[in-house]
C-alpha cells in the first residue's frame, strides 16, 4: 500500500504544475514547427525536446545532477557550444561572393540597424508595467535582429541568461519565418523597376584571397574590437581551415560530426532554459514582439541602403539583395533570389545575395562585440 502510494507520489500526474504543462505544450509546438513546418529543425528539434524534458516534474533534468544541468553549465554558460557551432559555420561559409563584390558589406552593415534600433524598443517596453529590462537585457534581446542563432545564444548567455530561452526561441523562429516576413517588406520599399535590376557576373576569386580574408577579418577584430574575438575568431578559424586546403579532415569534421554533436547538446541546453518561471511572463511576449520588429527593421534597412548606394554609385545593385544583410544564411539569400525571379525571370540573384548574407554574419558578430564591450 505504502509502495503504491510512493509510486503515485512519484508520478508526473501527482506533481504537475500548470506552468509545466504549458511549457511542455510550448515544447510540442516547437517540435511541430520544426518537423511539420520545417522551421530550423536542426536546432528546434533538440530545443523543443529539451523544453519538454526540463519541465518534467520530479525528474530534475535541470537541477544539480541532471543531464540538462550538466549540458547547460558545461556547454552554454561557458560559451563553448555556440563557439564550436560558429567554428563549424565558418567552415561552411564561402566568402567568395563577398570578396568579389565588397560593396555588399555595407548592406550587411546597414541591416544591423535592426539590432540597434531594437535596443530602443526594448527600453521603451519598460513603460509597460511588469516589464523591467536593464540595458543588458535590452542588448541581449536586440541581438535577435542579427538573425544569427549562435551569436544570439552566446550574447544572451553572457548578458541575460534568464532570458536565453525566450531569445533563442524568438531568434530561431524568426529565422525560419524569413520567407514570410521579408517579401512584403522588400516589395514595399522597392519599385518593380528596381527589383528587375540584373547584376553583372561576379569576378573569379583566387585561393589566396579566400585564405587571407579570414585572417584579415581576425586582425581587424583584434585591433578594433577584441570583445568580438571569441565569436569572430572561432568563425575565422573554421573558415581558414576550410580555405587553406591543408587540413581538409579537420574542416570536414568541424562542418559535420562536430557541429552535429554540438547542435544536439546546444539545442537540449537551450531548451532547458524554457522553464515556466522564466518563459511564461509578459517579458517573453515583449521579446517576441521586439524580435519581429528587429527583423523587419533590419530587412528594410538593408533594402534602403542598397537604394542609397545606387544613388551614389554607377554600378547598380538590385536592392532586394540588401534584405539578405540580416544574415539567416542561406535562407535570406534564397528569398532575395525568389523575389527577384518573380519580377524578372532571368534575374538570378542567389550568388549576389550571398555577399550581404555572409556580411550580415560578420556584422552581427561585430554588433555583439560592441554590446559586450559597452554593456557587458
Amino acid at each position: 500500500m505504502e509502495s503504491l502510494n510512493t509510486l503515485w507520489m512519484s508520478t508526473g500526474l501527482a506533481n504537475f504544475e500548470l506552468g509545466q504543462v504549458i511549457m511542455m505544450l510550448v515544447g510540442c509546438l516547437l517540435l511541430f514547427l520544426a518537423i511539420v513546418k520545417d522551421f530550423e529543425p536542426l536546432l528546434l528539434v533538440p530545443m523543443g525536446f529539451g523544453a519538454i524534458l526540463t519541465n518534467i516534474p520530479v525528474a530534475g533534468f535541470s537541477e544539480a545532477g541532471g543531464l540538462l544541468y550538466y549540458i547547460y553549465h558545461a556547454g552554454i554558460e561557458t560559451g563553448i557550444f555556440p563557439l564550436i557551432i560558429f567554428m563549424g559555420v565558418g567552415a561552411m561559409t564561402d566568402f567568395g561572393a563577398l570578396i568579389a563584390n565588397p560593396k555588399t558589406l555595407f548592406l550587411g552593415a546597414a541591416a544591423q540597424f535592426g539590432i540597434f534600433s531594437t535596443l530602443f524598443g526594448a527600453i521603451a517596453l519598460n513603460a509597460i508595467p511588469g516589464i523591467e529590462f536593464t540595458m543588458k537585457d535590452a542588448s541581449a534581446i536586440a541581438i535577435i535582429g542579427g538573425a544569427d542563432g549562435p551569436t544570439a545564444i552566446f550574447l544572451a548567455s553572457k548578458l541575460a541568461p534568464e532570458l536565453l530561452g525566450a531569445i533563442a526561441v524568438a531568434a530561431y523562429s524568426y529565422m525560419a519565418l524569413v520567407p514570410i516576413i521579408q517579401p512584403p517588406i522588400m516589395k514595399a520599399f522597392t519599385t518593380e523597376e528596381e527589383r528587375k535590376i540584373e547584376m553583372a557576373q561576379l569576378r573569379h576569386v583566387t585561393k589566396i584571397e579566400k585564405v587571407v580574408f579570414p585572417l584579415g577579418v581576425l586582425m581587424m577584430t583584434i585591433f578594433f574590437l577584441p570583445a568580438a574575438t571569441p565569436l569572430v575568431g572561432m568563425f575565422c578559424l573554421g573558415n581558414l581551415m576550410r580555405e587553406c586546403g591543408v587540413v581538409d579532415r579537420l574542416s570536414g569534421t568541424a562542418q559535420n560530426e562536430l557541429i552535429n554533436i554540438t547542435t544536439i547538446f546546444l539545442g537540449l541546453g537551450v531548451g532547458s532554459k524554457l522553464s515556466a518561471d522564466k518563459f511564461l511572463n509578459i517579458e517573453t511576449l515583449g521579446i517576441l514582439a521586439l524580435g519581429a520588429v528587429a527583423f523587419s527593421i533590419g530587412t528594410a534597412s538593408g533594402v534602403l541602403m542598397a537604394k542609397l548606394m545606387n544613388k551614389v554609385s554607377k554600378e547598380k545593385v538590385n536592392p532586394l539583395i540588401g534584405a539578405a544583410g540580416v544574415s539567416a544564411v542561406p535562407m535570406a539569400a534564397r528569398v532575395a533570389n525568389k523575389v527577384g525571379l518573380e519580377a524578372n525571370p532571368h534575374n538570378f540573384l542567389l550568388m549576389h545575395a550571398m555577399g550581404p548574407n555572409v556580411a550580415g554574419v560578420l556584422g552581427s558578430a561585430v554588433a555583439a562585440g560592441i554590446l559586450l564591450a559597452l554593456v557587458g
Binding site: 565588397p102 552593415a109 540595458m135 585561393k207 554593456v375
Partner: protein
C-alpha cells in the same frame, strides 16, 4: 521616469556608437579587400589546372573508338542506379 529617460539616452548613444562602428568596421574591410586582397590576387593568381585535361581527352578518345551510344547509355544508367542505391549516406 528620470531613470527611463536616462536609459533612453544611453540606448540612443549605444545605437549611434554601434552603427558608426559597424559601418566603420565593415567599411575598413571593403578597403582591405580592394587594396590588400586584390593585389594579392594579382600577385598570386590561381594556377591553371591542366593536369586533368589529358584524362578527359583520353575519355573522349575512347568514346570515339567506336563505343556505341547504347553502351554509354547503359553505363550511365548503371552509374546512376549505383548512385541512387548509395545516395543515403
Amino acid at each position: 521616469m528620470e531613470h527611463l529617460t536616462q536609459l533612453f539616452i544611453d540606448a540612443g548613444i549605444l545605437m549611434l556608437t554601434g552603427m558608426v562602428f559597424v559601418f566603420a568596421f565593415l567599411g575598413l574591410l571593403v578597403i582591405f579587400i580592394n587594396n590588400v586582397l586584390l593585389k594579392l590576387a594579382n600577385a598570386y593568381p590561381d594556377p591553371i589546372i591542366q593536369s586533368k585535361r589529358p584524362a578527359r581527352a583520353n575519355n573522349a578518345k575512347v568514346s570515339q573508338q567506336g563505343v556505341s551510344p547504347s553502351i554509354v547509355a547503359a553505363i550511365s544508367s548503371a552509374v546512376s542506379q549505383y548512385r541512387q542505391q548509395h545516395r543515403k549516406k
